[in-house]
C-alpha cells in the first residue's frame, strides 16, 4: 500500500523523530479504540483528563493535516485560475480601452478621406462606385465612439475655497 503525503508532512515527521510506517501503525491501533467526543469533558490535571486530551489533540491534528493536504494540493490550480482570469480580464480591458477606440478613430479618418476622394473623382466625371474594393453593403462598422470605450474620463470636482483662518475671518468681519 502506498500513501501520498506532502513533503512538508514527511519533514514534520522527521522533526518529531518518527517515520511514516510507525505513525501509520499507531493510527491503525487507535482507530476504534478511542472516544469520539469533540469537546473536553474530563477534569483537568487528572489522568483521565490527560488521556482525553491526547485523543482530542490527535483527532484535531489529523483533521488539520487532512485539510492542509487538500488545500495545499489544490492551491496551484486556484493560482492558475486566478492568472487565467486576470489575463482574460486584462485583454478585455485592453481591447475596450485602447485597441477598439484606436481602430474606430482610424476608420473615421479613412471614411472622411474616402468621401473627399469620392467627391473629387465625381467632379472629374468618373463614377466612384466603379473604383473598388468596396466594403460589402450592410457590413460597414459604425465607427462612432462607444460608451465605455477609451480611457475613463475622470470627474473633476470644483476645488474647495481656500480655508480662512480665524484671524482672517475676524478681519473680514471688520470692527463692530
Amino acid at each position: 500500500m502506498n500513501v501520498e503525503l506532502l513533503t512538508a508532512d514527511i519533514t514534520e515527521l522527521d522533526e518529531l523523530g518518527l517515520d511514516v510506517q510507525q505513525a501509520f501503525e499507531r493510527g491503525c491501533k487507535a482507530i476504534g479504540n478511542r472516544p469520539t467526543r469533540e469537546r473536553i469533558a474530563e477534569k483537568p490535571d487528572t489522568e483521565a483528563g490527560v488521556a482525553e486530551l491526547v485523543d482530542l489533540f490527535a483527532e484535531r491534528s489529523a483533521d488539520l493535516h487532512l485539510v492542509r493536504f487538500s488545500f495545499a494540493t489544490a492551491a496551484p490550480e486556484y493560482d492558475r485560475s486566478t492568472c487565467a482570469f486576470d489575463a482574460i480580464d486584462a485583454r478585455g480591458r485592453e481591447i475596450q480601452r485602447d485597441v477598439a477606440p484606436t481602430l474606430r478613430a482610424r476608420l473615421r479618418e479613412l471614411r472622411t478621406r474616402e468621401a473627399e476622394l469620392e467627391r473629387a473623382v465625381a467632379m472629374r466625371g468618373l463614377d466612384p462606385r466603379t473604383i473598388g474594393p468596396m466594403v460589402p453593403a450592410g457590413e460597414a462598422i459604425d465607427p462612432t465612439k462607444r460608451p465605455g470605450e477609451g480611457p475613463r474620463e475622470r470627474r473633476h470636482l470644483t476645488p474647495l475655497p481656500v480655508r480662512r483662518s480665524l484671524l482672517s475671518r475676524l478681519r473680514r468681519r471688520g470692527p463692530r
Binding site: 512538508a8 501503525e25 493510527g27
Partner: protein
C-alpha cells in the same frame, strides 16, 4: 493566495506495510467510528496523521514532570491545532469560493472578450479594404 502558512504542493509517496485483511479490519472500525474519511487514499493518509499526532501527544505526556504540566502542554497544542484547523478551513473555503467565481466569470468574460476580438478583426478588415480603395481613388485622380 491568502496570507497563511501553507506548504508547497510537493508530495512524496511512502510505502506502508499492513496485511490486507488487517487493513480491512481497520477500515470496518473506521466506518463504525464515523470520524475517518471513507476513501482508501484519504483513510491511509488520515491514519498516518492520526498516528503521528498520538505519538507526539504521548511523547509530551512521557516528558512531562507532572499530570498538570502534561495537561497544560497538551491543552496548548490542542488549542493551537484547533485554531489552525479553523483558520485553514476558512481560507480554503474562501479560496474554493473565489475559484468557483473565477471559473464562472472567466467563462462569461471569455465570451465577451471573444466578441470584442471578433469586432477588432472586422475593424481591421474594413480598415484594410478602405486603405486599398483610397489608394485606387488616388490613382484614379492622378491618372
Amino acid at each position: 493566495m491568502p496570507a497563511i502558512d501553507l506548504p508547497t504542493a510537493d508530495t512524496s509517496t511512502a510505502e506502508l506495510s499492513l496485511a490486507p485483511d488487517e487493513f480491512d479490519v481497520v477500515r470496518v472500525r473506521a466506518v463504525a467510528e464515523g470520524l475517518a474519511p471513507d476513501r482508501e487514499g484519504e483513510l491511509l493518509r488520515y491514519l498516518v496523521y492520526l498516528g503521528a499526532a498520538y505519538l507526539e501527544a504521548e511523547q509530551v505526556v512521557d516528558e512531562a514532570s507532572s499530570a498538570h504540566d502534561g495537561y497544560d502542554e497538551l491543552h496548548r497544542r490542542f488549542g493551537a491545532v484547533s485554531a489552525g484547523a479553523a483558520v485553514l478551513r476558512f481560507h480554503w473555503a474562501e479560496a474554493a469560493r473565489t475559484y468557483a467565481d473565477e471559473q464562472r466569470a472567466a467563462t462569461a468574460h471569455g465570451r465577451g472578450v471573444g466578441g470584442y476580438e471578433a469586432l477588432v478583426e472586422k475593424l481591421e478588415d474594413e480598415i484594410a479594404t478602405r486603405e486599398d480603395r483610397i489608394l485606387h481613388l488616388e490613382e484614379a485622380l492622378a491618372a
